[in-house]
Amino acid sequence: MGAVAFWVLAVAAVACAVTVFVVDSMARATFALLASFLFGAGEIILLGLDYLGVVIVVMMIMEMVIMAVFMVMYMMNPAGLMPMSMVHNQRGSLLTAGTVFASLAAGIFLVPWPARGPHRPADPTFDLGKSLMGPHMLTMMLLGVTLFATMVVTVVLASQQGRYDRLGDDLKGKAR
């Protein structure tokens, strides 16, 4: 049962990942990427990490919907109605990707992994929370700061206006 689920999800995840770079339509590419993430999240849930799996589902749906919006906004041909190639250095990329995969696969089968066998703590979600608030507090804080910095940086980068521009020259106007 578990093995079947694994293979179904795995094949679907990789197939969707490949689809991302095959389809012409940006909307379909985004949704293929989303599907790949959802299948990946399925694998993670299969491993007993319910919380992380569902969180990835939540995050990725939101991310991909927003991504679709940006794709449609900036791409020249978002619906892929007119077939056009948007790749460069395809051969080199394929070669590199193949090499990466081959070497990773070789490593996977050559490294003698410590055989502790599968195990499941009673409540992995609780474990995660406790470690993030305990031994990994530093990580958590760093993540928090990073996210905050990201918000500030992205707004500054993406915004054309200064902080008070919306108020008009006399600084009295109302926001639009």
């Binding site: 339509s25 940006m26 909307a27 449609v72 906004m73 978002p78 619906a79 892929g80 109605l81 007119m82």
Partner: protein
């Protein structure tokens, strides 16, 4: 057959009706709406949801295209009818319903049309018929698809392609005669988008679309050609189509009085009050508040049918209180489409819009106030003559004003507004094509 037949019968029991209001068809529209309410038939918001297309009034040249496009977009089973006089509304609706229940009706297209297959071709890319594309002729739009090809087959042809409304350049050559070999191959006849400046300095894609003339709650005969970036209107050019210079239904008693006929103040006030209630109903419908909109329509019909003051006054007060005091509605409309008194004068705008002299909120409140005044007069038996109280006559006469200045104001105010806000602004001006002075019918043919 048995099950299908029974399902069709059940489906036809309560058909959804798309009401296409024509200029000069106001009394017919009112009769149709009253009939629909009595029969408990819902009105559709878009062709996709409609079974029956009811055209209210004779179709002027300028709107023929729009009506045909709307019809082409209605999926089967369907039927259409054109009501040319208010008294004919019940019969026309009955007939339309009867046609709807006939099995295989939808497969044979419209009765009386020469080429039924023309209706089986997929409708054009523009939504809702309402957004009738600015292309020159609807027939052209179907040239990309051969009539023998079924809709599904067309989908196969474009397998793997996605939509992009941002990229439809309506002016593209393939729109006007399917010359697909012209230049680059345009998939599905859609051109790449042009781009233009926008408020964020991003120069995003532009879409040329048309709002009206057959949208729910939209003033009959108004066509607004807009350039959209996203759902923000970047520029707007309006046009008033189908004017026949006959004068508006809403000022008809006052006009007759000016020609010396014996018309009572009550009759004219009744009509004016009905006008405000009709406006209010359509405005509230656009504002997404169907229940008070329905109440306003019921009230309108009762007032026009001659209900006495005491029968309607308290009901009107209830509606006015609910609408006038709604904080949400005020929150949604405050600061929207502001036309100050000075600007109104400069543009030549008169009537309730000028008297309100403010935003959308001010305008619907002005309607409520003036409707209340008019309702107080509905039982007034005094004769209204041109020689009588001129001021009163003018007052009764100017609920509906010449639409050109209103259109100018709309063109100016919808720029920068999102579609929903623009719809509210248009509904709050409510230009009436019928009041266009002395325009021969041919003007419309644009």
């Amino acid at each position: 057959m048995g099950v299908t037949h029974r399902m069709l019968r059940a489906a036809a029991r309560r058909p959804h009706v798309l009401v296409a209001a024509m200029p000069t068809g106001t009394p017919i529209r009112l009769a149709v709406e009253a009939q629909l309410r009595r029969r408990n038939w819902p009105t559709a918001w878009s062709p996709a949801d409609a079974d029956v297309l009811v055209v209210c009034g004779s179709v002027p040249t300028g709107l023929r295209t729009a009506v045909e496009e709307l019809w082409a977009e209605i999926p089967g089973p369907r039927s259409r009818t054109c009501v040319v006089a208010a008294v004919l509304a019940p019969g026309a609706l009955d007939a339309a319903k009867a046609r709807l229940a006939m099995p295989n009706q939808e497969r044979s297209g419209t009765p009386g049309r020469s080429d039924p297959r023309a209706h089986a071709t997929p409708p054009d890319q523009m939504a809702a018929g309402a957004m009738s594309p600015p292309g020159p002729d609807p027939a052209d739009r179907h040239l990309d698809v051969s009539p023998d090809q079924d809709p599904a087959g067309q989908g196969e042809a474009h397998q793997g392609s996605g939509p992009d409304i941002d990229q439809q350049g309506p002016e593209h050559p393939s729109m006007s005669h399917g010359d697909m070999d012209d230049g680059m191959s345009m998939p599905a006849g859609l051109a790449m988008a042009e781009r233009g400046d926008d408020r964020d300095g991003l120069k995003l894609d532009q879409l040329h679309a048309t709002l009206g003339p057959l949208l729910v709650g939209w003033p009959a005969g108004l066509v607004l050609r807009v350039t959209l970036q996203g759902d923000i209107i970047q520029s707007a050019r309006g046009e008033l189509v189908g004017a026949q210079g006959r004068g508006s239904f809403w000022v008809e008693p006052a006009t007759r009085a000016m020609y010396g006929e014996a018309v009572t103040v009550g009759e004219a006030a009744r009509r004016t009050a009905g006008c405000y209630l009709d406006r209010l109903g359509r405005f509230l419908c656009v504002a997404g508040w169907p229940d008070p909109a329905a109440a306003a329509r019921v009230l309108r019909d009762d007032v026009l049918a001659g209900a006495a003051h005491h029968e309607v006054a308290s009901r009107f007060a209830a509606v006015a209180r609910r609408v006038g005091r709604s904080r949400t509605l005020r929150w949604m409309t405050t600061g929207l489409g502001v036309l100050g008194a000075a600007d109104a004068t400069a543009l030549g705008v008169t009537g309730p819009v000028a008297r309100a002299g403010g935003d959308v909120t001010a305008r619907y409140r002005q309607w409520l106030a003036e409707a209340a005044e008019m309702l107080d007069l509905v039982d007034d038996p005094v004769l209204l003559t041109a020689h009588g109280d001129g001021r009163a006559l003018g007052y009764l006469h100017d609920a509906v004003t010449p639409p050109e200045p209103l259109l100018a104001a709309i063109e100016r105010l919808v720029v920068g507004a999102e579609i929903g806000a623009a719809r509210l602004i248009v509904a709050s001006f409510d230009p009436d094509v019928d009041e266009m002075a002395g325009h021969p019918a041919s003007v419309a043919d644009g």
